[in-house]
């Protein structure tokens, strides 16, 4: 079964890679299997973890009947499949939207504003707060200045309520330079992560399947 699985995995790997030549039936077959298997994977996983594990076991074993409200809302979500009464699915949707909005107001502000600002305002000539003055290395000093200035000018660039002219415009200009370098670095990082995935697949083809590399 293991050997058959390896051959099957090689068949699918090559089928997906065949798209580099052009769109073809082999690729479409692999793509369709991927779509079906992915949907089925989540269908089963969420059934056993959430519907059975979270809802059914707790209802039958711990008599946690409050979960029936959640299950009712979940069923309402599925009513979207019946067009005449599909509008009922807005109720659970509004629950999810409301809960997400309520959580994000606090959590996003705490983690993405407060924590980020706190981490940006670092001591200039010390490695961290409480350390003696001038204890930081020149590398760290320059790094702290670049991070603080880059964050501030980046925010200035995103501030569109004032025209980008004069000193403000100059800061916005430095901000867009920072953001362009960020985009470039993120792009390079993404490309390399995709490359490592590709290397993994090539390692499988030439190592596990063909046995050419050990």
């Amino acid at each position: 079964m293991e050997i058959f699985g390896t051959w099957l995995a090689a068949f699918f790997t090559l089928g997906i890679i065949s798209f580099l030549y052009r769109d073809n039936a082999w690729y479409k077959l692999c793509e369709s299997i991927f779509v079906g298997i992915s949907a089925g994977y989540w269908f089963v996983t969420l059934f056993w973890d959430n519907i059975h594990g979270l809802f059914w076991e707790r209802i039958t074993e711990r008599h946690d009947y409050w979960l029936l409200i959640g299950a009712s809302l979940g069923l309402m979500m599925l009513l979207r499949l019946i067009p005449p009464i599909g509008w009922i699915s807005r109720w659970p949707l509004s629950f999810v939207v409301g809960a997400t909005a309520g959580l994000y107001i606090i959590n996003y502000f705490a983690s993405n504003v407060m924590v980020q600002v706190e981490n940006t305002l670092m001591p200039l000539f010390s490695a961290k707060f409480g350390d003696p003055l001038f204890s930081a290395s020149p590398y760290s000093i320059v790094g702290n200045i670049v991070v603080a200035a880059g964050t501030f000018t980046g925010l200035v660039y995103f501030f569109f309520s004032k025209e980008h002219k004069g000193a403000f415009g100059g800061m916005a200009k430095i901000g867009i330079w920072t953001i362009m370098i960020t985009f470039g670095a993120s792009f390079g990082y993404t490309v390399m992560s995709r490359m490592s995935l590709l290397i993994g697949r090539m390692d499988f083809i030439f190592g596990d399947w063909l046995g050419l590399i050990r």
Partner: protein, 216 residues
């Protein structure tokens, strides 16, 4: 009824989740647990809805004999295969050696990994067409991407050595870019996004933003 009740639910649940952060005592902490469980159950049903909708669309394509309808048959069969095996194996469906685990290891993993690996080629071809050093901003993006990519492979440092630069120089530059300028830019973007999320969330809770309810 079709719009008022959803708006009311959104407002009540949204205000509750804000309050429970500031009042971590009964009944708010208890309700928080219930709401989180409901959220998980609804989330599972939403994924089910997506999967069932996929099957419905595929079945419709087969029924109407639309072009490439044969691939819709493959979608339904592969969906049924993993679902039947997953349900048959019960609660321990993920155990090593199970049929579900075999499907995951030999079909799902190679397909998903190769699908994402394929993006490397498309990203490379798109960047070849889009990356033109037309002005200073575009040049900065190009140089940063080039240095980060070069700094993450051994050949990058080898090029540095051949140019007479000290060993690991390019990888150090790449690390410095990632840790300082990239951090600064990411922080500016994160703070901007967070402020946008907070204001949008407030608009949703107050019922000003209603686009999620659809047009009817």
């Amino acid at each position: 009824m079709r719009r008022e009740i959803p708006l009311l639910i959104t407002a009540i649940v949204g205000i509750f989740f804000v309050l429970q952060y500031f009042i971590p005592h009964p009944p708010f902490n208890r309700l928080n647990g219930w709401f989180s469980d409901w959220f998980s159950i609804i989330g599972a049903c939403a994924i089910w809805l997506g999967a069932l909708n996929l099957i419905r669309i595929s079945a419709d394509k087969i029924y109407r004999k639309r072009s490439d309808w044969g691939f819709s048959v493959v979608i339904i069969l592969s969906f049924l295969l993993i679902v039947v095996i997953g349900f048959k194996e019960g609660r321990d469906f993920r155990n090593p050696g199970s049929g579900f685990d075999w499907l995951y290891n030999f079909i799902y993993t190679p397909l998903s990994a190769t699908m994402f690996a394929l993006l490397a080629f498309f990203v490379a071809s798109a960047s070849y067409r889009a990356f033109r050093a037309r002005n200073l901003e575009a040049s900065l993006l190009l140089v940063a991407a080039f240095l980060v990519m070069l700094g993450r492979v051994p050949v990058g440092d080898a090029i540095g050595v051949s140019l007479g630069l000290p060993e690991t120089n390019i990888s150090k530059v790449a690390v410095w870019i990632m840790n300082t300028i990239n951090t600064a830019g990411q922080r500016a973007i994160l703070i901007g996004i967070a402020l946008g999320v907070v204001s949008t969330s407030l608009r949703i809770i107050l019922g000003i933003e209603r686009s999620y309810l659809g047009s009817e």
